[in-house]
């Protein structure tokens, strides 16, 4: 079997982008180093989303910033720590062939315009706008919960770049479909769903919140059924390309998201237990699955569950 045939079977289109397979790195996971991106690409990842980048470098919150919960779930409040637009454009400057989305976070339209100005000449395939970080004031979710702000920010990004824009939504206090609709109306091409859910953990011996920020975002296996539901509802109602994210740890989870309507998926927390080689093993298993099912191309399964 030729390499082309192999690529053909797993390759997916998201808006105008083609990825060699539907697996992507979720934002904020291992997401600040070009060397790591190259290692992941060697492990057959389909695409990369970087850590959310802001105009200025951010130290983030003190530790604990991440808590492993039981059964493959995690709670985090890293506080969007990132090296800032300048250091990060330097980091990506040598990128050649890795399909990278840069995730952007900011509190004003100006922030986004500034970053695009720096990033847009890099070898990247698009942007993901993080409107759904559930634990940093004035960024992420607080913006995402304000439809007017969403609309303004997305239009600004749209005006400043020709590259595809994905808007990452979460389950906050605005209906996820409405949020997605607002983003699409303002010029977004793709919706990424979902980010972490606002959550908390308190230690019973010390009686204290564990995260330094007290409240953080829940990720991992716990949120998969919620992510599946959001992808299903968004893709069914809006007929836009959706990238599914949340709680994926097996090839079955990838298939489940695609059946729900995701054109591709992002994988995050499971890297903690499985390491970067999971992309290799999941893509191999995806290929076995479509061959067993007699499906020509994995993209054929996108949204099949809508029929039933």
């Amino acid at each position: 079997m030729s390499v082309d045939d192999k690529n053909f079977k797993l390759s997916v289109d998201i808006d105008e982008i083609t990825l060699r397979n539907p697996t992507m790195l979720a934002s904020g996971i291992l997401g600040i180093s070009q060397s790591i991106f190259e290692r992941l690409y060697d492990e057959n990842i389909g695409g990369i989303v970087t850590k959310s980048i802001s105009v200025e470098p951010m130290k983030g919150y003190p530790n604990p910033t991440l808590i492993p919960l039981s059964g493959g779930s995690y709670l985090n409040a890293v506080g969007l720590s990132n090296p800032g637009v300048n250091a990060f454009s330097e980091e990506l400057s040598q990128n050649k062939n890795i399909p990278i989305f840069i995730s952007l976070v900011g509190s004003s339209e100006k922030d986004f315009a500034k970053m695009i100005k720096v990033f847009d000449s890099l070898n990247i395939i698009g942007y993901e706008i993080n409107l759904s970080c559930p634990h940093v004031s004035k960024m992420g979710m607080e913006v995402g919960d304000d439809p007017e702000a969403v609309s303004k920010i997305v239009s600004t990004v749209r005006k400043n770049t020709k590259k595809p824009i994905s808007v990452k939504v979460g389950v906050g206090s605005v209906d996820v479909i409405e949020l997605a609709r607002t983003a699409i109306d303002a010029g977004a091409n793709i919706i990424t769903a979902i980010n972490t859910l606002r959550a908390m953990s308190i230690d019973v011996e010390t009686m204290m919140p564990i995260l330094s920020n007290r409240i953080g975002g829940l990720s991992g296996t716990a949120i998969k059924p919620i992510g599946i539901r959001c992808v299903y509802e968004i893709s069914k109602n809006l007929k836009v390309p959706v990238i599914g994210c949340g709680g994926i740890s097996t090839w079955q989870d990838v298939v489940e998201y695609m059946l729900a309507g995701a054109s591709a998926v992002q994988i995050g927390s499971v890297l903690g237990s499985a390491g970067p080689r999971i992309f290799n093993s999941i893509t191999k298993d995806l290929k076995k699955y479509i061959e067993r099912k007699g499906i020509m191309k994995i993209s054929e399964i996108v949204g099949i569950a809508h029929k039933y």
Binding site: L30, N63, T65, N82, P83, T206, P209, G268, G272
Partner: protein, 274 residues
């Protein structure tokens, strides 16, 4: 015996040992830490203050382990100040371990400061396996010499030996552990060199080992948030120190452009080693 290392345990500090004016050992009961492999680390929670990576220190009581802290910034200072009876939390032990080849007969251990912590667990294990261990420890000055008595206890009655160096010559051999190592490897053959301590020291140790064609293993440090391969803050080239390491061998180290050259700060920007 508990098996989920990710599970946070809250332990009472059972004993505190003042090692030097700025270094203290906190002893606590924790089965998982007691059984830690040499080189593994804990994510130690100082409630409402910080969570910091700490190598697992040996302790003589069954079921007990310890951490040895050098007072530094907010987190380490606050941990340093904890008293007997205080509660701290921990998850882990995480990371890979120093490996002892089956046929090893003689090893060389070179460490400095709290870098000695994982090396003492290794030395204990090696000596149990009847591997002759030559331990070279360095400190800037006499008051900063760590674990000398403990190490003497570990090696007493065995063929192993200890060299204590101080940069300023106020105690033991005058000079760095690196210069002492250079002399030692000239006269004796070793199956492997093990090192942990400041990165530039380790870089020198690794270079000398290479020049003398001795296999080498070094335990690296980078800023860690998650400790388990998720956040990426500990990356060094394409490696994750917490998940792929902390211990790397000479072959892996030789491909690491950032080793001894740059590290990343808390926001992920690359900084050159001074």
């Amino acid at each position: 015996m508990p098996t989920n290392i990710d599970n946070r345990r809250i332990v009472k500090i059972d004993e505190t040992i003042a090692e030097t004016p700025t270094v203290k050992t906190l002893v606590f009961k924790d089965t998982l830490s007691y059984f830690a492999e040499p080189g593994q680390f804990l994510m130690v929670w100082i409630p409402r203050i910080e969570e910091i990576p700490m190598s697992v220190m040996i302790n003589s009581k069954e079921g007990f382990a310890a951490v040895t802290i050098r007072k530094f910034g907010i987190g380490s200072t606050s941990l340093f100040e904890r008293k007997k009876g205080d509660l701290i939390g921990m998850r882990g032990p995480y990371g890979n371990r120093f490996k002892l080849g089956k046929k090893y007969e003689k090893i060389l251990i070179v460490g400095g400061g709290t870098g000695l912590v994982p090396l003492l667990r290794l030395a204990t294990m090696a000596i149990n396996k009847k591997i002759k261990s030559t331990i070279v420890m360095g400190a800037r000055t006499k008051t900063e010499v760590l674990f000398e008595k403990l190490t003497k206890n570990i090696i007493s009655g065995t063929a192993s030996s200890l060299f204590v160096c101080t940069d300023d010559g106020t105690y033991g051999i005058k000079g760095t552990n690196v210069s002492e190592m250079t002399k030692i490897v000239r006269n004796e053959n070793f199956d492997c060199v093990y090192t942990c301590g400041p990165e530039l020291m380790m870089k020198a140790v690794v270079d000398i080992a290479k020049q003398n064609s001795i296999p080498v293993q070094a335990s690296l440090e980078r800023y860690m948030k998650c400790g388990i391969g998720i956040c990426g803050s500990c990356c060094l080239d394409s490696s994750l120190i917490c998940q792929d390491g902390t211990i790397f061998d000479g072959w892996q180290l030789s491909k690491m452009l950032e080793f001894g050259s740059t590290y990343r700060d808390k926001d992920g920007q690359k900084i050159k080693f001074a």
